[in-house]
C-alpha cells in the first residue's frame, strides 16, 4: 500500500473536510506542513500578522459562514498566542479546529526550544484537545476533531502535532466516519417535556420568549419567527441572540440584562412564563439571581445539558438543538398570551425608550443610525466596550444582516481580525467593523492582512481617547477617578501638562494610509453620511473611519453588576 507522510495526510484531510480557507502562521515545527500547503491548490492560506488575530479571524470566518474555522500555528509562542482566541471561541460556541506544531516526541518534556504543553494550557478553554502521539492515529484524530468542533454545542478543538509524527510515513487513508464512545451529542427532542412546555405557554397570561445565541448558531431564525408570530408572544434577546427575530418586528422588545432596554427588563420582571432558548443565563443578563424573573415559571431549551439549571433553576428543562426543538414546537403551538400583556409592554416601551443624551455634536447613535440607513445587507462585527453595547442596542438586525461580537469572554482586539475573517468568508457582503480606540490598537497590525488580501472593510473607530466602558464605571461608581483609562496620559502629559502632545496617538488616518488603506476622520455629525458613501466606493482596500466622540457618552440604561430592576440607571 502507498504510504505518505503525516504532513501530506493532514492536507488531504483538510480537503476531504471541505476546508477552503486556512489561517496560518509558520514556524520551525510546522514548516513541513507549510511546504505541503505550498504544493497544493484549493485551500487558500491566509497569513494574519499575529497568532491571536489569526484565531479571531478564523472565528469570524466560522461565525459568518457556518463552517469550521481552521488554524495552523507553530509550537511554543505560536501556540500560546492562541489562548485568548480559543477562550473567546469556547465561550461563544464557535467551531474551530486549531493545529499547533510540537517538538519531536523525544524532545517533549525536555524544555526544548519553543516547546510548551499547549494541550495542558488550553484544557479548560477548548471543547477537546489532544497530542497526536502515533502516526497511525492522525487521520482518525483529525476526523474526530472536525466532528467534535461542529456538532452538539460547537466549540474549538486543538490538535498538537509533534514534528516527527508528521514526518513519519503511514497510511494514506482518511476515515469516512467517526465513532467516539464518550461523545454522543444530543439529538432529537423529548416530546413529553416539549408538550408540557407548550401547554404552559398557552396557559400563561404574560408569556415571554428569551432567545440567546443558540437560536442564531443553530440557524433557527425563520422557524423561531414563525413560532413567535403564531403565538403572538413577545421576545427579548441576549446580545448574542439579537437578530433571532428581526429587530424591527412588532413583537420584538429588545435586549435584556445589564444594558438591556427598560421594557425588556420590566417584561422579564413581570412575566409569568419565561420560555428561554439557547442561553446560559450569564450574570450579565440575570443580575441578582434571586430576583431574576421572580414571578415566572421557566422553560429552558439548550443543547448543552450542563447549561441547564446551573445559574437559575428551571421548571421545564429540554435538552435539544434550538432549531430542532422549535420545529417541533411549531407543530403544537397556537395563539396565546393576552392583548393586555402586549399593551403593558408597549406602555413600558413608550415610557422609557432606548435613547441617548441629545446634543449637537457627533454621537455614537448618529453613526449607527447612518449604518442602519445605508446598509440593507451587512455583517457587523464589533469589538468590546461601550461601542459594542451601543451597537447591541441600536444596530438593526434584519433578514440580510448579522452581527458578531465576543459576548462571553469580552475580548478586546476581537473586532478587526474577526472582520477580516468574516469578509474572507463572505466576499460579496459588506462587512462593517465597529471598534473603539482601545480595542482597535490591540490588533492594529491586521491592516497588513486586510490590505494585501484586498478586503474592502468598513472600519469604524469610535475614538474618545478613553477606555470608555471602564471609564463609565469609574464615573458612576468610583467618584470620577479615571485611573488607567485615559489613553492620552503618560509622562509626556504629566511633564507638559497636556500641552505639546501629538494631536493624535496614534493618528489612525495616517496609520491606515501607511498600510495602503484609506483613512477618513469625522468630527461632525454632518460628515457621517459622506464618509460611509466614500467607504462604499473604495472597493479594493479597507476604509478606516475615525469618529471623534465625547468621552462623556454613556451606555444607558444600566443595571449594576449583581443588581436588580430597582437599581436600573436610566438617566441620559
Amino acid at each position: 500500500m502507498r504510504q505518505i507522510s503525516g504532513n501530506k495526510l493532514l492536507v488531504k484531510a483538510l480537503k476531504e473536510e471541505g476546508v477552503d480557507t486556512l489561517f496560518g502562521y509558520p514556524g520551525a515545527c510546522t514548516i513541513d506542513i507549510s511546504d505541503e500547503l505550498y504544493k497544493q491548490e484549493g485551500i487558500r492560506v491566509i497569513l494574519p500578522r499575529h497568532e491571536q488575530a489569526l484565531v479571531h479571524a478564523a472565528d469570524g470566518y466560522a461565525r459568518t459562514t457556518g463552517k469550521v474555522g481552521v488554524c495552523l500555528v507553530t509550537s511554543g509562542p505560536g501556540a500560546t498566542n492562541l489562548v485568548t482566541g480559543l477562550a473567546t471561541a469556547n465561550y461563544d460556541s464557535v467551531p474551530l479546529v486549531c493545529f499547533t506544531g510540537q517538538v519531536a516526541r523525544h524532545l517533549i518534556g525536555n524544555d526544548a526550544f519553543q516547546e510548551v504543553d499547549i494541550v495542558g494550557i488550553t484544557r479548560s478553554i477548548t471543547k477537546y484537545g489532544v497530542t497526536v502521539r502515533n502516526r497511525a492515529d492522525l487521520g482518525r484524530i483529525v476526523k474526530e476533531a472536525f466532528y467534535i468542533a461542529r456538532t452538539g454545542r460547537p466549540g474549538p478543538v486543538l490538535i498538537d502535532l509533534p514534528k516527527d509524527v508528521m514526518a513519519e510515513l503511514g497510511s494514506a487513508e482518511y476515515p469516512k466516519s467517526v465513532n467516539i464512545r464518550g461523545y454522543k451529542p444530543a439529538s432529537g427532542v423529548h416530546i413529553g417535556q416539549l408538550k408540557r412546555a407548550v401547554k404552559m405557554l398557552s396557559r400563561a397570561q404574560r408569556p415571554l420568549f428569551l432567545a440567546g445565541g443558540g437560536v442564531v448558531i443553530s440557524g433557527a431564525h425563520e422557524i423561531f419567527r414563525e413560532v413567535v408570530e403564531k403565538t403572538g408572544v413577545p421576545v427579548v434577546t441576549t446580545i448574542m441572540g439579537r437578530g433571532a427575530v428581526p429587530t424591527d418586528h412588532p413583537l420584538y422588545i429588545g435586549n435584556l440584562g445589564m444594558h438591556g432596554a427598560y421594557a425588556s427588563n420590566m417584561a422579564v420582571g413581570e412575566c409569568d412564563l419565561l420560555f428561554s432558548i439557547g442561553t446560559r443565563f450569564n450574570d450579565r443578563i440575570t443580575g441578582k439571581l434571586h430576583e431574576f424573573a421572580p414571578k415566572a415559571q421557566i422553560v429552558h431549551i439548550d443543547i448543552d445539558t450542563a447549561s441547564i439549571s446551573r445559574n437559575i433553576s428551571v421548571d421545564v428543562p429540554i435538552v435539544a438543538d434550538a432549531r430542532e426543538a422549535l420545529e417541533k414546537i411549531n407543530e403544537y403551538v397556537e395563539e396565546c398570551g393576552g392583548k393586555k400583556w402586549l399593551k403593558q409592554i408597549e406602555a413600558w416601551k413608550q415610557a422609557h425608550p432606548l435613547r441617548m443624551r441629545e446634543h449637537a455634536g457627533l454621537g455614537p447613535k448618529d453613526i449607527i443610525d447612518e449604518i442602519n440607513r445605508q446598509f440593507d445587507e451587512a455583517i457587523v462585527v464589533t469589538d468590546v466596550g461601550q461601542h459594542q453595547m451601543f451597537a447591541a442596542q441600536y444596530v438593526e438586525i434584519t433578514k440580510k444582516k448579522q452581527m458578531i461580537m465576543s459576548g462571553g469572554l469580552g475580548t478586546m482586539g476581537y473586532g478587526f481580525p474577526a472582520a477580516v475573517g468574516a469578509k474572507l468568508g463572505n466576499p460579496d457582503k459588506p462587512v462593517i467593523m465597529i471598534s473603539g480606540d482601545g480595542g482597535m490598537q490591540m490588533n492594529i497590525q491586521e491592516f497588513a492582512t486586510a490590505v494585501l488580501e484586498e478586503l474592502p472593510l468598513v472600519l469604524c473607530v469610535f475614538n474618545n481617547s478613553y477606555l470608555g466602558m471602564v471609564r463609565q464605571w469609574q464615573k458612576l461608581f468610583y467618584g470620577k477617578r479615571y485611573s488607567m483609562t485615559n489613553l492620552r496620559s503618560g509622562a509626556l502629559w504629566r511633564r507638559t501638562n497636556g500641552e505639546q502632545m501629538p494631536e493624535y496617538t496614534p493618528d489612525f488616518v495616517k496609520l491606515a494610509e501607511s498600510y495602503g488603506a484609506k483613512g477618513i476622520r469625522v468630527t461632525r455629525r454632518e460628515e457621517i453620511a459622506a464618509a460611509f458613501a466614500e467607504a462604499k466606493k473604495n472597493t479594493k482596500t479597507p476604509t478606516l473611519i475615525e469618529f471623534i466622540i465625547d468621552p462623556e457618552e454613556m451606555v444607558y440604561p444600566m443595571i449594576q453588576p449583581g443588581g436588580t430592576l430597582e437599581d436600573m440607571i436610566l438617566d441620559c
Binding site: 495542558g120 467516539i180 464518550g182 445539558t305
Partner: protein, 169 residues
Amino acid sequence: MENTIKKRWISLYVENQVGVLSKISGLFSAKSYNLDSLTVGTTEDPTVSRMTIATVSDDETFEQIKKQLNRLVEVIKVIDFTDVFVRMKEILYVKVKKCSREDKAELFQIAETFKARVIDYGRDSLLLEFVQTATKNDAVIKLLKEEFKDIEVVRGGSVGIESISMMER
C-alpha cells in the same frame, strides 16, 4: 427544595489515555468543586480506566459535576454511586513507630478487633494493613493518633463496584 451537603460517590469510565486524569482533576479545580478522593486503574479492557471519585457537595453542585463530567469527550460513562448498593473499600497502611512491648501487644489487639493484618514487624515498630471503608479508616487513624506518639499513614482512596446481591456497603 432542600439542598443537602453530603459526601457523594461517582464511578467513572474514562479513556485510558495520557492527560485524562489531569483533565478530570482540572475540571474539579477549575470549577471549585470539592475533590475528596480519586482512585484510578485500568479495567478488563486495557483501553478503559475506571475512577472512583468522592466529593462533598450539595445537590445542585453535584448535578453540575455529573453534567460537566459527561461533557468531556474522554469520559465514557458516569455512574452515581451515592445511593446505590456498592461494595467499597479503601486500603490503609499505618506504620506505628517507637513502640514499647505493651504498645505492640495492644496493636495486635487492635488489629484483631478491626480485622487488620500486621504485615511487618521490627524492633520498635509495626506495620498494619486495613482494608475497609474509608469512614472506618478515618476512625482507625483517629484512634491510633490518640494512642501512639509516632505514626505514619498512607491510604489509597476508595474503590467501588456495584453489589450483586448484598444490600450493604
